[in-house]
């Protein structure tokens, strides 16, 4: 591994960030940790917290009943222009038609993690007849492995109008919590 930090500075940095501390510092940190743990535990069991939970639940229920349009993943899915190595006449149209399936993958992920968000670039190889012969994740930020695999499966099931050549596609897809 070539390191952009000079070796002497690197050694000094590692020495000063070794994570080792004197026993009294470690003991004090541990004592403070368990004091904080105990305080938080008492808070969760306190009547104040129970009352706050009731208020929050009531507000959430009221908010949900007033909301005319439920939050869905629809507006949270965006696909940027598809990058192709050879011209595929209907690439953008086919990818646009996959959006509901992308959305389904994301919604499945949201049901497990309400804060799920991120983006992914999917790669696909299309044969001369327009069939997807392979698909994979090129790069990603966030999202779960299950959601990413679901998106790959969607792309594998796509079919384009063949152009007589083998064609590489890159499909950027972003998901966020925008309502």
């Amino acid at each position: 591994m070539t390191n952009p930090i000079p070796s002497q500075l690197l050694e000094q940095t590692r020495t000063l960030t070794s994570g080792e501390v004197a026993a009294d510092v470690h003991d004090a940190s541990r004592r403070r940790l368990f004091e904080r743990r105990e305080q938080r535990s008492r808070f969760w069991q306190s009547p104040v917290f129970a009352g706050a939970v009731v208020v929050v639940v009531v507000v959430l229920i009221a908010n949900a009943s007033l909301r005319r349009e439920p939050a869905t993943a629809e507006r949270a899915v965006s696909t940027e222009p598809v990058v192709v190595t050879e011209r595929l006449s209907d690439a953008d149209k086919v990818i646009a038609s996959l959006r509901p399936q992308f959305r389904k993958c994301y919604q499945d992920g949201l049901s497990l993690d309400p804060n799920l968000a991120g983006k992914v670039v999917l790669g696909a190889t299309v044969d001369p007849q327009g069939a997807v012969v392979s698909a994979s994740v090129v790069s990603f930020e966030g999202l779960t492995p299950e959601v990413r695999e679901c998106l790959v499966q969607v792309v594998r099931g796509a079919h384009f109008t063949g152009n007589g050549h083998s064609t590489e596609l890159k499909i950027p897809v972003a998901f966020n919590q925008a309502r």
């Binding site: 591994m1 390191n3 952009p4 930090i5 000079p6 500075l9 690197l10 000094q12 940095t13 590692r14 020495t15 000063l16 960030t17 070794s18 994570g19 080792e20 501390v21 510092v25 470690h26 940190s29 541990r30 403070r32 940790l33 368990f34 904080r36 743990r37 938080r40 994740v137 090129v138 790069s139 990603f140 930020e141 966030g142």
Partner: protein
């Protein structure tokens, strides 16, 4: 589970003890076992400031609270590292916001004891390195610190940051020349 002999238990047994009966004794053993590792990750991503003790405690509090989400009881170490990185990311964003709002001057990350300290020159050099890292965006800084200071494999960096290997490589390729040039005084 009896407290006696807990120090010899493996992670899975300790995690089960904490999860099932909220055993403080088992939790203390986990803290003693991994505090140095977590502190090291925090220091190498945030800089060697005393305040990492706060982030250290936050990491373990989150770990104990979220034990139910741990998929495999034996993966406590990796789970702790991922939480520590999440806490470090939040702290870096807080620092950046404070700097933008000019609530505090740029942090002097290493306490400089003065010329009489035999490590003074080293501390000053390390302080300068972290001042350069402060100029990077949060995600690039984390990738750089985990790769070059903590010496993680690229795949481990990707896993710890929840991003793809390609994204890690792209970020490192972008920031490595910047850090090298800044250290050489070229920028």
């Amino acid at each position: 589970m009896l407290a006696m002999g807990l120090a010899e238990e493996d992670d899975a047994q300790l995690v089960t003890a904490v999860r099932e009966d909220r055993s403080d004794a088992a939790a203390r053993v986990l803290f003693d076992r991994y505090a140095a590792l977590v502190r090291r990750i925090l220091q190498r991503t945030l800089g060697p400031a005393r305040e990492v003790e706060d982030q250290l405690q936050e990491t373990f509090l989150a770990f104990f609270r979220q034990l139910g989400e741990l998929r495999s009881d034996g993966s406590a170490r990796a789970y702790l590292v991922s939480i520590a990185i999440r806490i470090a990311r939040s702290e870096l964003r807080r620092r950046r916001l404070r700097r933008i709002l000019r609530l505090t001057p740029a942090e002097e990350l290493v306490e400089l004891a003065g010329n009489e300290d035999p490590n003074w020159e080293a501390r000053r050099a390390v302080s300068r390195l972290f001042a350069i890292l402060d100029e990077l965006d949060t995600d690039s800084r984390l990738a750089f610190a985990l790769r070059h200071i903590e010496e993680m494999e690229l795949t481990d960096v990707a896993s710890a940051l929840g991003i793809s290997l390609a994204t890690v490589k792209r970020r490192l390729t972008k920031v490595e020349p910047i850090v090298r040039a800044r250290l050489a005084g070229e920028l």
